[in-house]
């Protein structure tokens, strides 16, 4: 089966969009999406790890002995996660405080390990890069969308890097924040509603 770079890149946005189609990596998806910017920040951190680990796994795929491939993948992924953690502490400390424990948890995010095992270890460098970028950005968009949805309903605002972009109260003065949405059960409900919407759109 011939694989095209564009197909590998764009499949991450709809066909195989990780949290919705594969329902993978739900821990950060549900945990950090109380605000849009947390979702986006988490998504970008994951994308960075995913792209780097895909590239390294793909370039080492002929060297890594099959029997120890999983420990090798984990070393590679863990290295990049700690790297991204230190960089976030150094440059985006506020976001780091908010995301907290979810950053180290990227190590056990099954999307990252899943792409290393299922894709990067079997494909070339360029395809793996496209795959990592596509899946990662798809993940970022999903988290951002879910975060935006929950933030608008739950707090009535939409903020990006501290700047308020939107305040529902200006359009609907009587708006009551739907706090259920920013709590954990609200995350499941939102995810379910969005999944339902996507399935409806995808149906012929």
């Amino acid at each position: 089966m011939a694989k095209s770079v564009t197909h590998e890149f764009f499949k991450g946005f709809w066909e195989e969009i990780a949290p919705f189609r594969l329902v993978l990596g739900l821990c950060p998806v549900l945990g950090v999406t109380t605000k849009m910017q947390f979702g986006l920040g988490m998504g970008l951190a994951t994308t960075f790890v995913l792209v780097c680990s895909n590239l390294l796994v793909s370039s080492l795929r002929k060297v890594i002995p099959p029997k120890v491939r999983v420990p090798c993948f984990i070393i590679i992924i863990a290295t990049f996660v700690v790297l991204v953690e230190m960089l976030m502490q150094a440059y985006t400390y506020e976001l780091f405080l908010q995301l907290g424990v979810f950053i180290p948890l990227i190590v056990v995010n099954c999307i990252v390990l899943g792409r290393a095992e299922a894709f990067a270890s079997k494909n070339g460098l360029v395809l793996s890069l496209a795959d990592g970028l596509g899946i990662g950005l798809g993940f970022t968009i999903s988290l951002g969308a879910l975060g935006a949805f929950r933030e608008i309903l739950g707090a009535g605002t939409l903020t990006l890097w501290g700047d308020p972009l939107l305040n529902i109260a200006t359009y609907f003065p009587g708006f009551q924040a739907f706090t259920f949405m920013v709590q954990a059960p609200g995350a499941f409900v939102c995810l379910g509603v969005m999944l339902c919407g996507m399935n409806m759109l995808g149906q012929k």
């Binding site: 002995p65 029997k67 150094a90």
Partner: protein, 197 residues
């Protein structure tokens, strides 16, 4: 056998590469991370303590090493004089350590001001130690070299209602600050002379 060796070699290589890379990045970001932590965790408290400072106490700081522990002191220039230093101590609160930033006037040994930096106390009760400015304001003017206690224990600090443990923790931190200040005072004065903000 050959496969065995290959496995060992590959894993060793990857591990050392990973260790080396991380050590390198840690080395290069350590200073920046320290600055960020200072800015976001201690910065707000310092800023409210030294509203009238003519310098930036966050950047004018020095450290004193004692008993393998490194203590950071922030120097403030007030009314043209650099004789006020602030440092952080901890007391055991209800939900964990309560950090207290104590500013002391080296000339009079009196507390210039104090403010809670970090805590994990109950919201609305213990958290008032940080959120209610009247509580921390009581510390200003107290002599630091004497034990600082809540009124119930014979001291002068009015405890927060519903948060006795937290109030005590803050007093313990302040008393500890006094002990530390007592033992480090000569060095603090020494370092202050060399700092000209």
């Amino acid at each position: 056998m050959g496969e065995m060796i290959k496995m060992v070699v590959v894993l060793t290589f990857l591990s050392s590469l990973s260790g080396g890379l991380l050590a390198y990045v840690k080395e290069n970001t350590a200073q920046r991370i320290e600055d960020q932590v200072l800015q976001f965790v201690k910065g707000p408290t310092l800023k409210s303590l030294f509203k009238d400072a003519e310098n930036d106490p966050l950047s004018d700081r020095f450290t004193i090493d004692r008993d393998k522990e490194s203590r950071t002191f922030f120097v403030a220039k007030l009314d043209g004089k650099t004789q006020t230093v602030a440092f952080e101590t901890f007391g055991k609160g209800y939900g964990g350590d309560v950090g207290l930033m104590v500013a002391v006037d080296v000339a009079t040994d009196k507390i210039y001001g104090a403010g809670v930096t970090t805590h994990s106390e109950t919201a609305g009760l213990g958290s008032m130690a940080k959120d209610d400015p009247n509580f921390a304001a009581q510390f200003a003017g107290q002599p630091l070299l004497e034990p600082i206690q809540v009124t119930g224990d014979g001291g002068k600090i009015n405890a927060l209602s519903g948060a006795t443990i937290t109030s005590r923790a803050v007093c313990v931190a302040a008393t500890q600050a006094g002990d530390m200040y007592k033992s480090l005072k000569p060095e603090i004065e020494e370092k202050l002379k060399s700092i000209t903000p």
